[in-house]
């Protein structure tokens, strides 16, 4: 196990460097003068240009720039924006909101998705099964911004149940509808995954044995069947938490949430490379670590799987 973890961690390094270098190169190799429009209507004074060039190492070649940036990053310094705000501080303010949103999305999709999956998986073919299959197909086909806008128009505009935009505190209550929107696609996948997994395991030998030895139905389903069936679902939920944080841009835009997505979008619009790279690096780390954790969790949950 220890060797496996080590090997996986070593494999993460080239992937991490590749992904972040790709973004770094794209952001900093922007065609055009990085200082255009930075000082209002007139051209930037030479002293300012010199200072910024030195600060962002713009005179070095791209790989050198990148590794200097990475070095600063690992000492915990995310750098400053062109206007001098600390990026680390901005991210520290925005990240909790995005994390809260992603966690709420995962909780909602887990409850509804697993619930629908268990129900249809146990019942087998019938009206409920078809209903869930069709509604998951429909959810998969809806682009997230459409779900968001339609819910916003209905709940906020027509019925006035929620506010159209989330306040800057972004409390849990306010984030329930955006969380539902963000998690709607994965909810459909989880429902299908659980259903497939349950209906496959329902005919497995260990379930038949449990029934044969006279276990009450609740125990057969709740302990024997469910424990074996939720393993793929839990791994999906793990990777999803990482993916949702990166995918929250659209949802955050629709509901005006001041999270990482909004920050990175503004950064791109204002050509503020340091913000964009900082956030992307953070998201890539989260995503890679989550997929590693999920892999390891797999072995813990299912004793039949052994790495080594």
């Amino acid at each position: 196990m220890g060797r496996y973890v080590l090997r996986r961690l070593l494999q993460l390094i080239p992937v991490f460097i590749g992904s972040t270098f790709l973004i770094y190169a794209l952001v900093w190799a922007l065609p055009g003068d990085p200082f255009s429009g930075k000082c209002g209507q007139r051209a930037c004074p030479q002293a300012y240009v010199d200072m910024m060039t030195a600060k962002y190492n713009l005179d070095d070649s791209l790989p050198v720039q990148y590794f200097k940036y990475l070095g600063k990053l690992f000492s915990g310094d995310f750098g400053e924006t062109f206007s001098g705000n600390s990026i680390g501080e901005m991210m520290a303010n925005a990240a909790p909101i995005t994390i809260r949103l992603a966690v709420i999305a995962v909780v909602i999709e887990a409850i509804i998705g697993i619930g629908a999956g268990i129900l249809t998986g146990l019942r087998g073919k019938g009206f409920l099964d078809n209903l869930v299959l069709l509604s998951t197909l429909f959810l998969i086909s809806l682009p997230v911004f459409v779900t968001g806008i339609v819910l916003q128009l209905l709940l906020a505009g027509e019925w006035g149940i929620i506010n159209p935009s989330v306040s800057s505190e972004a409390t849990v209550g306010e984030l329930i509808v955006p969380g539902f929107v963000l998690g709607s696609l994965s909810m459909a996948y989880i429902a299908r995954l659980t259903r497939a997994s349950i209906s496959e395991n329902r005919r497995a030998d260990f379930v038949r044995t449990a029934i044969a030895k006279g276990q009450p139905n609740r125990r057969v389903v709740g302990v024997h069947l469910l424990r074996a069936s939720v393993i793929p679902v839990i791994t999906f939920l793990g990777t999803d938490l990482g993916a949702l944080m990166g995918g929250a841009i659209v949802t955050e835009g629709v509901f005006n949430i001041n999270g990482l997505g909004g920050l990175v979008f503004r950064g791109i619009q204002e050509k503020d490379g340091a913000t964009v790279t900082g956030i992307v690096v953070l998201l890539v780390i989260v995503y890679l670590l989550m997929s590693l954790v999920v892999d390891l969790l797999y072995a813990v949950l299912d004793p039949r799987i052994r790495y080594d």
């Binding site: 197909l137 086909s141 911004f145």
Partner: protein
């Protein structure tokens, strides 16, 4: 569907092996595809999805058949008017007929979907089959290379790519921006196709007849094209069907963010991005093109789902 990478979760096809029906013993055994076709013909969801796709394709080829007005027909007197007998989907804030623009928008949206899927599947299959066939360090290098692109969040990656090549105030040409949207979708999603192809190749490579062919001295290209490809193409095709829907959804999402295809091209995404600032007061501007996107994506996802079930012997 916003993130085409997730489409892979839908497209797992079990180990594909030709199944012969014992009831038809004396007859020539049906092939995997023949078997699948017999299954599919009776499925209402399959027939419905094929019907929708055919309608969308006809609309894309000959939009003039469906709309008497051209896409650039504009009457400012009617701006923002709700749907009526005169204009079924109403007018937008520029006085454009939303119905006419939605009909004419089908072509660009469908083209983006088709080209993005072709490119994704082509790159993914080639890399996947090489990685699966040669194995060892080639496999490791190619897999890690794929991970680099898979690790980037899709929407974020596409935003960075598209804004890098088109700074916010630039006006790129029609062909260029379509090519860029197609390119960024495929660059960020090909690892999914690669993983599917790679694992299918790993399974097929171990089959006896492939070993036999190698033992008989068949060349690498013969083994790949004659023996491996026919067995590995099914799961990739299922993925491609679903990915096509996903790419159409992705085009709309990128346009909604204001970085995708833009005027003067008419596409569903462009309509959606035009509606971005006005939909609070003029919801039909956004809901009709978004509805077309959803129905088209739904048709492709249903098609892929039905084909996957028909090709998977375990599901029967």
């Amino acid at each position: 569907m916003t993130d085409p990478n997730i489409a892979a979760d839908l497209s797992h096809v079990g180990e594909v092996a030709p199944v012969t029906d014992p009831a038809n013993g004396p007859h020539k055994p049906r092939s995997l595809w023949g078997d699948a076709w017999r299954q599919l013909r009776r499925k209402p969801l399959f027939l419905l999805s094929v019907f929708i796709i055919l309608v969308v394709v006809v609309i894309a080829i000959a939009p003039g058949l469906f709309s008497s007005r051209a896409a650039d027909f504009s009457d400012l007197n009617h701006a923002n008017e709700s749907p009526s007998a005169d204009a079924w989907f109403g007018y937008d804030n520029q006085g454009y007929d939303v119905y006419a623009r939605t009909i004419y928008g089908a072509r660009a949206s469908l083209l983006v979907g088709i080209f993005a899927t072709l490119l994704t599947v082509l790159i993914g299959s080639i890399v996947g089959i090489i990685a699966g066939y040669y194995g060892r360090w080639i496999d490791s290098v190619l897999s890690r290379f794929g991970d680099i692109f898979a690790g980037l969040p899709f929407v974020l990656g596409a935003i960075v790519i598209l804004t890098t090549f088109n700074p916010p105030d630039s006006h790129p040409g029609e062909v260029r921006i379509i090519a860029q949207v197609v390119g960024s979708i495929s660059v960020l999603t090909w690892p999914v196709a690669m993983r599917i192809m790679r694992s299918a190749t790993l399974v097929a490579k171990q089959l006896d007849y492939v070993k036999a062919a190698r033992g008989l001295g068949a060349s690498t290209s013969r083994i790949i094209f004659r023996h491996l490809l026919p067995n590995t193409i099914a799961p990739v095709l299922v993925y491609a069907t679903i990915a096509l829907g996903a790419a159409i959804g992705a085009e709309a999402t990128l346009a909604y963010l204001g970085i995708g295809i833009r005027s003067p091209v008419v596409s569903w995404g462009v309509e959606i991005s035009d509606a971005r600032d006005y939909f609070q007061n003029v919801p039909h501007m956004l809901l009709f093109p978004a509805g077309f996107v959803t129905i088209t994506v739904l048709a492709f996802v249903m098609l892929g789902d039905a084909v996957r079930q028909a090709l998977d012997p375990k599901a029967r």
